[in-house]
Symmetry: C2
Subunit: 344 residues, 2 copies
């Protein structure tokens, strides 16, 4: 609870010198700096947050808005919150949580009271109501996810379409002609912004490459093991040999289980790629190729963009899509020639 004037006195310098030494905003002689550092340590000085917010123009706080929807996948969501927090701290920022109904109204509140310097938006819906808000408030807002109407917004996300395309290409390169996508629960295609993007990429790539494409969701309102297993079985029955899985760890394990249960093997009979997953696909019963969704990458970029938006001449808002990275682990291989029914 020491104050800046005590530090100044202890170091034998003026208040402003202490302030500049701490902020690094002007050159300080090595000798002076050493005395100040010593005094700071000695007194365990920490600048008062309120005074800083008032005098400076920065609060060093970002709001994180996240409307915990009932169908939100908790582990993934937690990863993003954690990643956002880490990204913020790397830049000496704190995260203020805005949840539930406050996810929207709270944005206005904290923006106009000057509590935060910017807003990070999580769990973006295609028709997200926070889009309109972002356009009205005076502080920078970064969406982690891409809403349908994103004109004039700064958005950050994995390039889900390219991820799906990339995965389909791999399967096609391995001569798979019938591919299947194990997707999210049906409701996610309405409430979330990214499942439809994966599906679009999948459909487009399959069409372009002339593949036979199948799709099954893993439940209606939430993941359901029975629905998942049935969908997988149906696709195998329909001749699918190359799978994309854009679903939970459980659903991915279910594909392995169904394949194994049929006496088939990976990659000899069936190939499999996990797309946009945020769990460790190398730790499954069989290591699985994946194109991971890395929360830390999205959040680091989001925080970076928010900070840049606070600078003198901020960059123009736009959508930043992160390049997907393919991790090979041996779960994709050529179609077994003997099992080809119509190998032209």
């Amino acid at each position: 609870m020491a104050k800046i004037d005590e530090v100044a006195k202890a170091a034998g310098v003026s208040i402003s010198t202490v302030s500049y030494a701490l902020s690094g905003k002007r050159p300080i002689s090595a000798d002076t700096r050493a005395r100040i550092d010593a005094a700071v340590r000695e007194l365990d000085y920490r600048p008062n947050a309120g005074a800083r917010m008032l005098a400076g123009s920065r609060t060093s706080i970002f709001a994180l808005t996240e409307p915990f929807r009932p169908d939100t996948h908790a582990p993934t969501h937690m990863s993003f919150v954690l990643a956002a927090s880490i990204a913020a701290r790397r830049n000496d920022y704190d995260i203020l949580l805005l949840t539930e109904e406050e996810a929207s109204s709270g944005m206005r509140r904290v923006a106009s009271s000057g509590l935060v310097d910017g807003v990070l938006v999580l769990d973006v819906a295609p028709d997200d109501e926070r889009v309109a808000l972002a356009r009205r408030i005076a502080i920078p807002t970064v969406f982690i996810g891409v809403p349908d109407d994103h004109a004039g917004l700064t958005c950050v996300d994995l390039d889900f379409e390219r991820a799906a395309t990339l995965a389909v290409r791999r399967l096609a390169d391995a001569q798979h002609r019938v591919v299947g996508l194990v997707g999210q629960p049906a409701i996610a295609y309405e409430n979330s912004n990214f499942p439809p993007r994966v599906r679009r990429g999948f459909d487009a790539a399959a069409r372009e490459l002339g593949l036979d494409a199948h799709f099954r969701s893993t439940g209606s309102n939430r993941p359901d093991a029975a629905t998942t297993r049935r969908g997988i079985a149906e696709m195998i029955d329909a001749g699918v040999t190359g799978f994309l899985v854009h679903a939970s760890e459980e659903a991915t394990a279910a594909v392995l289980a169904e394949v194994t249960a049929r006496g088939l093997s990976i990659p000899a009979d069936v190939s499999l790629i996990s797309v946009a997953s945020s769990f460790d696909a190398s730790a499954l019963a069989i290591a699985v190729d994946d194109i991971p969704l890395v929360p830390q990458r999205s959040c680091d970029l989001a925080v970076d963009l928010a900070l840049r938006a606070l600078e003198d001449d901020p960059p123009k808002p736009r959508v930043h899509l992160i390049e997907p990275q393919y991790h090979s682990r041996g779960s994709v291989g050529p179609v077994r020639p003997t099992s080809g029914e119509r190998t032209d």
Copy 2:
């Protein structure tokens, strides 16, 4: 971005009157108040957070520290974060997130910089390092969970021991002589504070009532379906007719599945109580009696205690255990007489 002096001018009163009208800290005539309210609305005035923190002694922010452990059950954890946030907002407080390594060091930082008025501690470990910190910082700290060494601390939690005791009594009242506890993964009995408390309550009540008590965890480091199912089967084989389940929704469903698979029925053959669960036990395939862990109750109380600790003469720190509530749904019944092997 209007300031208080503009509101004052618009309402034709002094700055201090506006301040008092907004805080309600001194009587204002109805007429004056009306003019001020109108001006506030007109200008969309919101007090500047930094100025408030500096001038007043409150920041209206609580820190929430939560060291997302790898073995943390994400959905339950999310419920608590959400509940804490809601509890805070009900009292016009915001939540600042402290995660990961910052969960501890961040406590010092935000406490001594005056960023927050108090700290809420989530995900409490038996030997939590935040206990020592709480004793050293100058602001109130409330633990949601009870660490082993809690002398001088304010803690809030469900009375897990009584919850377990209560459940065992219900089973004993229904003439069950052999009871089983389906617990958390083994690691939770080291890393978390409450699983051992449930187990202690279970053991103590069984001993006191002269019941034969069995226990199985649901995995080692994380929930594992196979381990869970096997444990349940073993206990049924050992003659367990009355189950306590202190585990995930999945594990609870597994008990129902195993019972059903054996052609047994609930509650005719097997009775079942879910203890300290934070999912909806009435929505399972068979509605299950439960003694729920209600995050909102804990968090409301925690926030309340934090606020009271900020008052003039704060109450003495102590452990506040919340009374368990039994919800009857028909999953507990008398032991089937015919199957009694040794009915004394």
